[in-house]
């Protein structure tokens, strides 16, 4: 059995990669994929700690996270299609109507 720390370190690295992508990329679909990467890193933490503690709750949470991620994907991509129809681009810097 591998120590839980290895999994937690892996998930910390993946989460930071996701943060970097969200903060630096312009294409909103890539930003969306980086958010999925962050969600997955958190899922890995949940499952690793759930196995470590012998507690099932973490895995049930992961199921809910996946359901929310599926809902988020559907709504988010529909929003992107609408945005593209209005602005002819997917650049998140073009979404500036509410910018002060």
């Amino acid at each position: 059995m591998i120590s839980v720390n290895y999994f937690l370190v892996l998930s910390a690295i993946l989460f930071s990669l996701g943060v970097f992508g969200v903060l630096t990329r312009k294409n909103s679909i890539v930003v969306f994929m980086c958010i999925e990467l962050m969600l997955n890193a958190v899922n890995l933490t949940f499952i690793a700690l759930s196995r470590h503690l012998g507690n099932m709750d973490g895995q049930v949470f992961v199921l809910f996270v996946m359901a929310v991620a599926a809902a988020e994907a559907a709504v988010g991509l529909a929003l992107m299609i609408t945005f593209f129809r209005n602005r002819e681009s997917l650049d998140i810097d073009d979404a500036n109507t509410l910018k002060w």
């Binding site: 591998i2 290895y6 999994f7 937690l8 370190v9 892996l10 910390a12 690295i13 993946l14 989460f15 990669l17 996701g18 943060v19 970097f20 992508g21 903060l23 630096t24 990329r25 312009k26 294409n27 679909i29 890539v30 969306f32 994929m33 980086c34 999925e36 997955n40 899922n43 890995l44 499952i47 690793a48 700690l49 759930s50 196995r51 470590h52 503690l53 012998g54 507690n55 099932m56 895995q59 049930v60 992961v62 199921l63 809910f64 996946m66 359901a67 929310v68 991620a69 599926a70 809902a71 994907a73 559907a74 709504v75 991509l77 529909a78 992107m80 299609i81 609408t82 129809r85 997917l90």
Partner: protein, 167 residues
């Protein structure tokens, strides 16, 4: 042996994560993301959670990635995407390094109290992981489980209303 295998999987996962962030073409990012999902599913198997690994592959690598690739195809975007200004890249790198340092520090100094739940080595051997999960999901978490169904329904309706030209 197991640790070598884990290090290999982790290396591939981080490598393809880097590709997700750096690839110019969003389709390449999507393929790299699928690769990361496969590596995470392998990690779940190593953590005695085969059901979660199956769900990971079906929901993420199957459904969500197909949706993303379909949208990329529908919108027909090329590789025009560039990263933001160098200030933004520096800021983003700083923030992500800070997040990594913070999490690693917490891991190093934090303590996990060892509450032994129902998922012990012997229980997994006796009932299997899926049955333990189902017991928890359909007794303790029944209400959130039902609410998830409503959430998905609302998401479906919302996606159709948003993407339709005129409702």
């Amino acid at each position: 042996m197991e640790i070598l295998f884990f290090l290999f999987v982790a290396f591939v996962a981080v490598g393809s994560g880097v590709f997700v962030v750096t690839c110019k073409n969003p389709v390449n990012s999507a393929i790299a993301l699928v690769n990361t999902f496969f590596c995470l599913a392998t990690c779940y198997v190593m953590l005695d959670a085969p059901f979660m690994a199956a769900i990971q592959l079906i929901v993420y690598a199957g459904a969500i990635m197909v949706l993303i690739i379909f949208v990329i195809m529908l919108l027909n975007i090329g590789t025009v995407d560039v990263v933001k200004s160098s200030h933004a890249v520096a800021g983003g790198a700083l923030m992500s390094v800070l997040v990594a340092v913070q999490v690693l520090y917490m891991l190093n100094r934090g303590e996990v109290a060892n509450i032994e739940g129902p998922m012990t080595e012997s229980a997994i051997l006796e009932f299997g992981h899926t049955e333990l999960l189902a017991r928890s999901l359909f007794t303790e978490f029944l209400l959130p489980f039902e609410l998830t169904a409503i959430l998905l329904l609302v998401a479906i309706v919302g996606a159709i209303v948003l993407a339709k030209r005129d409702v």
